[in-house]
């Protein structure tokens, strides 16, 4: 672990409360940030050994935060996990229970609001992605997945707790690292119901999310907020963080505003709906071949081409961060309870428990497995967010404002020292070079000094290279020194680089125009894959005598309709044309191979003749 010195608890709590975030949820959210204590009390602890049945080691109601860290029956490959109790079996069965599981199951009247999806994600993407999505859903049947009753169990458990008394709480930690004071707000949700309730990629019991605020301390002891980083899915690095003075960062007084996505609880900077994509890289050979074809198309044939498409194949899911639901934070719909601190010393439920905080489904992609706690990754190693919160948000290369100017001046004086050394070295070596040059002139053309002359020439070349390199280094250092000087002056004048200069591709919500597609387009998006499959099956059964034509025609018509709905007719038509032209070219080659060869040779011959005659005529 690097420079970590937790500050004392009283200050930590005060610091945390000064900058605690305001969380804005989407209407219809089921689960809000809660304290881990009642959750752990409601769960049972299980252990899974390889090739064995899972064993319940602490039954429901017996587990406490203190006993959680003991991890009984531990072994090399054991996986400990918590399990939310299953809901009581409903008295109502059949169609009623299928259509209205919440009402059929009974239990608390929770959540209070209903979610409306609006425009479906499938209307925003093409056929291939829709087909891949269908396959992804089928794959969930084979992979481990959280059973359908899991979310219901979590609803009953969490709703029961909220019916008794509503609490909204985060878990706080303050860390000092590399001159930064990092305020860590760890948010615990009892369930990630993104797939079940919001058409997302996955479900899992328990969900740990985080918001970090980075403060700097001046020499006078003044504490300034400088950066903030919101976690979203598995993202890390520069794109997570925003500068405190970024006009795009929404704040209420000193409290950053977070738009929490429904179900997934991903934290976002802007209100809206995000297209979150599961990315699968294309096979390398396929990507290389495609690049070669594009080059031939664009450069050789001078054809129009769209900018280079993504090298990834993606399945899209919508993250709803609408912010139209409950708002939690200072002076909001609901206030935060005092935070539960995770420091001085780190409590045993954080450091001692390395298991999962919910059901272990044995999903090979881990998307349906519950997460581990704040300190660990699923593989039981210490998580980067815990031991390197500064590097996690890409801040390890950024000094605090207090250090910035001093760092520049120190760097400049180091550069000047290096430049002085370089100048002296260049002077000495230049002198040597000239002397060698004179000596080589003196030995030129004398047979008895031939070997010496050759050695001198070799040494001259070597020394000349060295001097050139040194001069280049001197020049580069000079330019760097000037740039640092300029930068220091700008900082002294209060100028700062653009607030979003560090972000290559910011996560932004989908534009409004994309959400305005009509209901017919949405309906088409929902039924299109099925229509395609049914049409193809119908052709296979009833049009075998005209199979090729019927298939091509049906696909062309369906693709045409699709392109029309997605306002991409231009693109579709040119793609179709190119495809057909390629087939046409092969047909022509097959039919008139020799004639084409003869014509080509004739054309080349005539062209050369024409060029030569033109030259003659000039």
């Amino acid at each position: 672990m690097r420079h970590e010195h937790p500050v004392d608890a009283t200050n930590s709590a005060a610091l945390l409360r000064s900058f605690e975030p305001v969380l804005r949820f989407t209407k219809g959210e089921w689960f809000y940030p809660m304290d881990v204590e009642p959750y752990v009390r409601s769960c049972s602890l299980w252990v899974q050994h390889p090739d064995e049945e899972a064993v319940c080691v602490v039954p429901q109601g017996k587990l406490t935060l203190e006993t959680l860290g003991q991890q009984p029956l531990d072994s090399a490959d054991a996986v400990h996990y918590l399990k939310i109790p299953a809901p009581e079996k409903s008295r109502r069965r059949g169609l009623w229970a299928r259509l209205f599981p919440r009402h059929a199951a009974g239990g608390p009247d929770w959540p209070k609001e209903t979610f409306r999806a609006g425009r479906g994600r499938l209307a925003r993407v093409g056929y291939v992605s829709r087909l891949a999505d269908a396959l992804f859903s089928l794959a969930l049947l084979l992979r481990g997945r959280v059973p359908g009753r899991g979310v219901e169990g979590a609803r009953v458990m969490y709703g029961g707790l909220m019916e008794k008394e509503e609490h909204y709480q985060y878990h706080g930690r303050v860390v000092r690292q590399d001159g930064w004071i990092v305020l860590q707000y760890w948010l615990f949700y009892s369930f990630n119901d993104w797939r079940s309730n919001f058409f997302g990629a996955n479900d899992h019991e328990a969900d740990w999310e985080k918001v970090f605020v980075y403060l700097s301390e001046s020499e006078s002891g003044e504490i300034l907020p400088e950066w903030v980083a919101y976690a979203a899915h598995e993202e890390a690095g520069d794109r997570l963080r925003r500068r405190w003075d970024d006009p795009e960062l929404e704040k209420i007084d000193e409290h950053p505003v977070v738009y929490v996505c429904a179900g997934s609880h991903a934290s976002r900077y802007f209100r809206g709906e995000y297209l979150t994509e599961l990315e699968f890289p294309l096979p390398r050979s396929f990507a290389r071949a495609r690049k070669a074809v594009r080059l031939f198309w664009y450069r050789t044939l001078r054809q129009y081409a769209e900018k280079d498409p993504s090298e990834l194949f993606t399945i899209p899911f919508v993250d709803y961060g609408r912010g139209d639901g409950l708002s939690v934070g200072p002076d909001q719909d609901r206030e935060w309870d005092p935070p539960r601190l995770m420091e001085d010393p780190v409590p045993s439920w954080v450091s001692g428990y390395r298991g999962l905080w919910g059901l272990y489904t044995r999903d090979p992609f881990e998307g349906e497995d519950a997460p581990s706690g704040p300190m660990y990754d699923r593989d039981k190693t210490v998580s980067r967010e815990w031991y390197d919160p500064v590097g996690w948000a890409g801040l390890d290369k950024v000094p605090t404002r207090a250090e910035e100017l001093a760092d520049i001046l120190e760097q400049r004086s180091e550069i000047e020292e290096r430049r002085d050394g370089l100048r002296a070295e260049i002077l000495q070596k230049s002198r040597d070079l000239k002397r060698l040059g004179i000596a080589a002139e003196a030995t030129r053309g004398r047979s008895h000094l031939r070997e010496l002359h050759e050695a001198q020439r070799g040494r001259i070349a070597e020394l000349s290279r060295e001097v050139r390199g040194l001069r280049e280094e001197l020049s580069t250092e000079g330019v760097l020194s000037e740039a640092l000087d300029d930068h220091a002056n700008r900082l002294r004048n209060g100028e700062r680089p653009p607030a979003n200069a560090h972000i290559a591709r910011a996560a932004r919500p989908l534009p409004e125009s994309e959400a305005r597609t009509g209901r017919v387009a949405q309906l088409w998006a929902s039924i299109s894959v099925a229509v395609v499959l049914l049409t193809l099956t119908g052709i296979l059964f009833y049009q075998r005598q005209h199979l090729l034509f019927a298939l091509v025609f049906a696909i062309a018509v369906l693709a045409f309709v699709e392109a029309g709905f997605r306002k991409r007719l231009d693109k579709f038509m040119i793609s179709a044309n190119i495809g057909l032209s390629v087939v046409g070219a092969f047909v022509l080659l097959d039919r008139y191979f020799w004639q084409i060869i003869v014509l080509s040779v004739l054309a080349v011959g005539l062209y050369i003749l024409w060029e030569n005659l033109r030259e003659l005529g000039r």
């Binding site: 129009y304 034509f549 091509v552 025609f553 062309a556 038509m573 044309n577 046409g584 022509l588």
Partner: protein, 178 residues
């Protein structure tokens, strides 16, 4: 830079823009002419197919002005079938080509989509509707369409049709935006 230099620089830019627009307008006209040629060619081919049928043998007119098709021999039936299929397959494309060609000549940029759709239809029919061996006329059609596809998608033509700039005023003085 002096005011005079700025002025001369500005007039150079204006001149270049006009030249580029004139070139792009010429390209639009060339495409239009080629499309009309293609459309007329298809129509001509249709006229040829229908013209070689001996209609006196194929049709018998009754006294009330109604037309009946009588039983006819195989070569005539093949000719009839070929002409009918040609009309079904190529008449819509020929109409689209003429429309696109004419609209190019009066500079409606939407003609580009109609032109590409027509090329697609012709290629689709030539490649997949006729069984192998295809009739002889399909091969020149495939070749012509393939070259037209390349030309319609060339950077110059795409720029002329999809640029937001209005092309230089044509002889009729009208500029139509898509």
């Amino acid at each position: 830079m002096t005011a005079h230099e700025k002025l001369s620089c500005w007039s150079e830019i204006t001149l270049m823009t006009e030249l580029r627009q004139r070139i792009s307008y010429r390209q639009v006209r060339v495409v239009g002419a080629l499309l009309i040629l293609q459309g007329v060619g298809l129509m001509g081919l249709g006229v040829y197919f229908f013209g070689r049928i001996d209609w006196d043998r194929a049709l018998v007119t009754s006294g009330q002005g109604q037309i009946y098709i009588q039983t006819i021999d195989e070569p005539l039936s093949e000719q009839l079938e070929q002409a009918a299929l040609f009309a079904i397959f190529f008449l819509p494309s020929a109409v689209l080509l003429l429309l696109a060609g004419l609209s190019f000549l009066v500079l409606r940029r939407r003609g580009w989509l109609i032109a590409t759709t027509a090329q697609s239809l012709i290629l689709l029919v030539c490649l997949f509707a006729y069984p192998d061996p295809r009739p002889g006329f399909t091969y020149p059609l495939i070749a012509y369409c393939s070259l037209m596809v390349l030309y319609l998608n060339s950077r110059g033509v795409r720029a002329a049709f999809h640029s937001k700039e209005k092309p230089a005023s044509s002889r009729s003085g009208t500029v139509h935006e898509a």
